[in-house]
Subunit: 359 residues, 2 copies
């Protein structure tokens, strides 16, 4: 059996506009799963519009809306507040979109839109307490400095959270990533970090936090980032990350197809797994395209919000194999062989498939 | 005239294998042309196989072949040698491949595979002098720790230079990028830097420098990285970067198409231009798809090997426009409207085209 001549798993073709998005918004090469904390520059990126060039000396964060005292904080003032540092895994809500059939046109992720970093910032709850949350407030709206057109509508990028979610201890106004100021592409000078949630929530280049007395109806909240079976469906909002396990592809790659080649014998498969709904409790591995599964060993996650390492001693027999891995979380969610399709191509946590040829 | 409904410039569709390469090997978002030195993580990346995970404490650079004394250098020994720091623009030889017709299958760059960094290292010539170049030596072969299969052949990534090129003052064994140790994806702990040459020459994760008495005939030298009109053609080697100018797309983008929208009036267009064949002597701008051209103002390059900034005061009139820019170097090379096609899709320095709608 020669996997070099097998048809690819997905016959999708991609337009030059989709390729243009993929060229800007890069994935994490899977071999970087070997790092607990993703090296700078390998962490995935999804930038809707352009990366703003922000002058930290004139930047201010406005906290307004249904508050007792409107605040205007400089970067120094934010840095002077008590801080929290925590390792957090971030994943794009569209991860896996490019593998869906029927084809969904947007950033065509193939499953590698993830990364883990150590974020430092001031808890949002402390800043909101300082502003004084009015009893009429129901949501916090986060607006970035990135501006563009989506769905025919000119807009600043903006997303909201309910007050209950926004005031959780782990939600940060982050000004450092891996101990250094944020890079421009990661939201310099300040971004929101909401551990457990998909990436669209972690608003970059943050300019304001506005407490609202009605739920936010902006484009990125009410149109985008909703799971809809059909375009007529009101859908449900995308929120926390579904469980996913990824493996470091073993052996060496063929340049264009990325099909892996390795020698027969003992081979330790390694990877990471995460979920926004609870701790990872199980990772399983298959070497027969998901027909039979074997338990992997789990290591310790660096934090409650970071991916958990796993490994599996695989006896690689000669021939072609399709390796898979799947994660289960403490809430009982199990990664599906094939996730349900939706119009926006969100939350496709179908199991990873890695083609290998053992000689 | 509504550019939203215009046919795209290129009707190319891309396979999932090409998309997989584009997801790993990211381009530089063009708004990052505003930085003289590209922020970490935005510099383009082309990695043929996997990113090796190298232990700097056990890593050694071997200098062997036609030398008087074989050397084995540790990272500390290399860092103890006199060093040079210089700002260098690097570009992939396949930049623009994805825009070619007929379609060429490989990493499908759309023109943004570039970046500028400050590299620090020991001049290669000093290390070769220490080893003692034998009179029979004609080339230096550079071998990396990255291994994979290309053209059906298992190989370590390896490229050679003639001794005349290898011993130029500006050729470095670089161990720092922007003042910090190299990131894994940029060749940690040591890579070759050959200012002026396309990226395939700057061998990453360098493990050996071997002086050869015959020209190297390996895959990446004799098959890949040659400009061939047909597959029967022996072709000519890809060497130095052809001139190219790029502009920061003005205004704000539409998310999927990246078509730009801005208000009528004065608009300063800015960008960078570079060539491996000489200094940039002229940049021109067109707002009518290359029919008429206007001279831009040139700033100062940070080094002889770094891109040169340019700007142009554009009076943006209402309507749809296709903006272009083109560079000329001191050797008299001018960027073409349409570069000649070749089988590998190399050196496509056709002028950039940016679609804008002025309201």
């Amino acid at each position: 059996m020669d996997t070099q001549t097998k048809a690819p798993h997905v016959a999708n073709e991609f337009s030059i506009d989709e390729l243009g998005l993929a060229s800007r918004n890069h994935a994490m090469p899977l071999e970087a799963l070997c790092y607990s904390c993703t090296p700078v520059g390998l962490h995935y990126l999804l930038i809707h519009y352009d990366i703003p060039q922000v002058d930290a000396t004139t930047w201010r964060l406005t906290v307004n809306g249904a508050v007792a005292h409107e605040l205007t904080l400089s970067l120094d003032e934010l840095r002077a507040l008590p801080s929290v540092t925590q390792q957090v895994t971030l994943e794009c809500a569209g991860n896996g979109r490019g593998l869906l059939s029927p084809h969904v046109v947007s950033q065509p992720w193939l499953g590698e839109a993830v990364g883990t970093a150590e974020w430092t910032g001031a808890p949002l709850s402390a800043v909101l307490a300082q502003a004084g949350i009015d009893a009429t407030a129901v949501e916090a709206l986060f607006t970035g400095l990135d501006r563009g057109i989506d769905g025919g509508e000119e807009q600043d990028y903006a997303r909201s959270l309910t007050l209950a979610e926004a005031t959780r201890d782990e939600v940060l106004l982050a000004y450092a990533m891996d101990g250094a100021p944020l890079l421009p592409q990661h939201g310099f000078p300040v971004r929101l970090i909401v551990p457990g949630w998909y990436g669209m929530t972690h608003v970059k280049w943050l300019s304001s936090v506005t407490l609202l007395t009605e739920p936010f109806q902006g484009y990125q909240q009410s149109h985008a980032y909703r799971v809809r079976a059909t375009s007529e469906d009101a859908g449900t909002p995308v929120t926390r990350m579904k469980p996913r396990a990824l493996m470091i592809p073993p052996g060496i790659p063929e340049y264009q197809t990325r099909i892996r080649h390795l020698r027969a014998g003992s081979c330790t498969l390694r990877g990471q797994a995460w979920s926004g709904w609870g701790a990872i409790t199980r990772v399983e591995v298959s070497d027969d395209a998901g027909q039979t599964w074997h338990d992997a060993s789990l290591g310790d996650a660096a934090s409650a919000y970071a991916w958990r390492p796993w490994s599996f001693a695989w006896d690689a027999a000669s021939g072609a194999h399709e390796l898979c891995c799947r994660a289960t979380d403490s809430a009982g969610n199990v990664q599906p062989l094939q996730a349900a399709w939706n119009t926006g191509g969100y939350e496709n946590n179908s199991v990873q498939r890695v083609r290998v040829v053992v000689a």
